[in-house]
């Protein structure tokens, strides 16, 4: 017994020497004292940080839902359905990954005394080998609402960030992310949200059913142009969470009743004829007539788009009009090129959010308020499931 105590003292001294830089002191001394036959003494450790591998091919990031849940951006490895990292955020935060897949921008709001006192809106920057905070850019007052994917977005090259402001007048703050400063605020009266395209341009949806396009002119000043209304905003509005790709400029604006309006975003946007998700499935189109029970899109983020195969994934439920927030009991897979339904996959419980990776073997993520299901995006097979915190915004690698 006494021998063991003295061994511990020697090992403790050795560990201290090791801390002061004596090479292999703890290991050599302790193994000698411990003798043969007994298990080796565990090595001493230092607290460190797991390196962040970047936002990799099968990763998913999601934020907390709202005032009820805690904030934070969580990063999940789709191959294991396990958490890789978490970044601090305020409630009602938005986020976007830079094209380098290592830098994360979080658009968020704080008050000096919790919910009162001096208000500060910031774009927080996280990155480096351990996803550390690397500073903030002060913003004009941003929109505070239930999470909206298109309230914050980056230009395709990651040079500019666009933050939708609602004070309650509507504008967009344009942030030079390389120079780390807000360079201008573009008024977008009667419109909202941001759908970036090209080098500096962004589009917004408007309260009269039109599209507003903002882009810089030869004098480097933003000019706003409005299209004619292209949807019936009172009876069948386009959903906030419609799909838009900044690199290609393709937007698929989907209405409550399931009409898809393809638009090529540009200074002069090109509007293709709308097509119906229900018709693509061989059904009559959904309408806003009371009492019509049929399949309709719905949820928090009910759409995901896979670029390489031109496929649109939609959360669908059976219900009457104006149920666009109802979760989906099925995922419908649509061929966007031919307006054709390819698959109908049931989800284990009603799902509210979708995201899909953009690699050669894509994963489809379906999220309820409590569960994440990781699915094979080609077969619909559920590979993994994991409990989650109520999600607000969601983004898979490459989206």
């Amino acid at each position: 017994m006494k021998r063991m105590q003295s061994d511990r003292v020697v090992c403790g001294v050795a560990a201290l020497l090791a801390l002061f830089g004596v090479p292999r002191a703890d290991r050599a001394w302790c193994s000698t004292l411990n003798g043969h036959g007994s298990p080796p003494v565990l090595q001493s450790e230092t607290a460190d940080i797991t390196p962040f591998p970047g936002f990799t091919a099968h990763d998913l990031a999601y934020s907390g839902l709202d005032a009820v849940t805690t904030g934070g951006i969580r990063i999940i490895d789709g191959d294991t359905a396990k958490t890789v990292a978490t970044v601090y955020s305020s409630q009602y935060a938005n986020f976007a990954w830079a094209p380098d897949d290592h830098t994360l921008y979080v658009s968020e709001t704080y008050w000096a005394l919790g919910d009162r006192g001096r208000r500060e809106d910031v774009l927080s920057i996280y990155g480096g080998p351990t996803l550390r905070n690397e500073g903030e850019i002060t913003l004009p007052e941003r929109l505070i609402s239930d999470p909206k994917t298109h309230a914050f977005a980056l230009s395709p090259d990651g040079h500019y960030g666009y933050v939708y402001s609602f004070q309650p007048a509507s504008s967009v703050s344009v942030v030079d992310l390389y120079g780390r400063k807000v360079i201008t605020q573009v008024e977008i009266p009667g419109c909202g949200l941001v759908f970036p395209f090209g080098e500096r341009g962004f589009a917004s949806l408007c309260a009269d059913g039109s599209l507003a396009v903002s882009d810089v002119n030869a004098k480097d000043r933003y000019i706003l142009r409005r299209s004619k209304p292209f949807f019936d905003v009172l009876n069948d509005p386009v959903m906030d969470e419609s799909v838009a790709e900044s690199k290609s400029g393709l937007a698929l604006f989907v209405t409550y009743d399931g009409w898809v309006h393809p638009v090529q975003l540009a200074d002069t946007p090109r509007f293709a004829p709308p097509w119906s998700i229900e018709q693509a499935a061989g059904l009559s189109p959904a309408t806003s007539t009371a009492g019509q029970i049929t399949w309709r899109p719905g949820g928090q983020v009910p759409f995901a788009y896979e670029r390489s195969r031109n496929r649109l994934f939609v959360l669908m439920h059976e219900g009457p009009p104006w149920t666009f927030e109802q979760g989906g009991t099925e995922i419908w897979v649509l061929d966007v090129s031919h307006h054709r339904l390819l698959h109908r996959w049931a989800v284990p419980q009603s799902a509210y959010l979708l995201a899909v990776t953009q690699d050669a073997h894509p994963l489809l993520f379906a999220l309820s308020q409590t569960w994440l299901w990781v699915m094979n995006a080609e077969s619909g097979e559920v590979g993994r499931a994991a409990p989650i915190v109520a999600p607000g915004m969601v983004s898979a690698k490459g989206e």
């Binding site: 005032a67 505070i144 909206k148 309650p168 007048a169 009266p189 949200l193 009269d208």
Partner: protein, 175 residues
């Protein structure tokens, strides 16, 4: 259905605001309203017209239990009922205060089959009340049409910005 009389609706909305705001607060917010004007190009009267027709919600609505999500005036309610948090349908619970601005809905009262304008104010400045959560989206609009959107946190101009619960304040008949 019944035709909407724009002047009367406007008068009711004005009276509703006048009853809620002091002269000083009106002056203080006048500038903000001027700035905000572009965000509200069509005003709530347009929204009310959309709500005139009977909807699936109104067909199943009831008028006796204001702590249930299908209470008739909650047709556009997306949030936590203040009735369940120590307040009433038009009264914030102690510790919170109503937002001066709101989103507007138009709900049909099953007892008289009339459409009424309802102002959904948030109660702000207290920790989130998690009771009686409702997701009613009758004629609710996307966020780019904010005057009828129930996802915006409307706590502008209150002491604290924390969302607590939501009210359904009767403005008057939408006709």
């Amino acid at each position: 259905m019944k035709r909407l009389h724009v002047d009367k609706v406007g008068e009711r909305l004005t009276r509703h605001l006048a009853g809620r705001l002091s002269r000083r607060s009106v002056l203080a917010r006048f500038g903000a309203l001027l700035v905000a004007a572009p965000a509200f190009p069509l005003l709530p009267v347009q929204r009310a017209r959309a709500g005139d027709a009977a909807t699936d919600f109104s067909r199943a609505a009831q008028t006796h239990d204001d702590s249930a999500c299908n209470y008739w005036r909650y047709c556009g309610m997306d949030g936590n009922l203040c009735v369940c948090c120590g307040g009433g349908p038009h009264s914030c619970p102690p510790g919170s205060q109503p937002s001066p601005t709101s989103w507007i809905g138009s709900c049909i009262n099953p007892d008289d089959q009339r459409a009424y304008l309802v102002a959904y104010h948030d109660c702000c400045g207290a920790s989130a009340c998690t009771e009686c959560s409702c997701t009613n989206t009758d004629h609710a609009m996307p966020i780019y049409r904010p005057q009828a959107n129930n996802h915006v946190t409307w706590c502008f101009g209150t002491q604290g910005f924390q969302y607590h619960c939501s009210l359904a304040v009767l403005v008057g008949p939408a006709e």
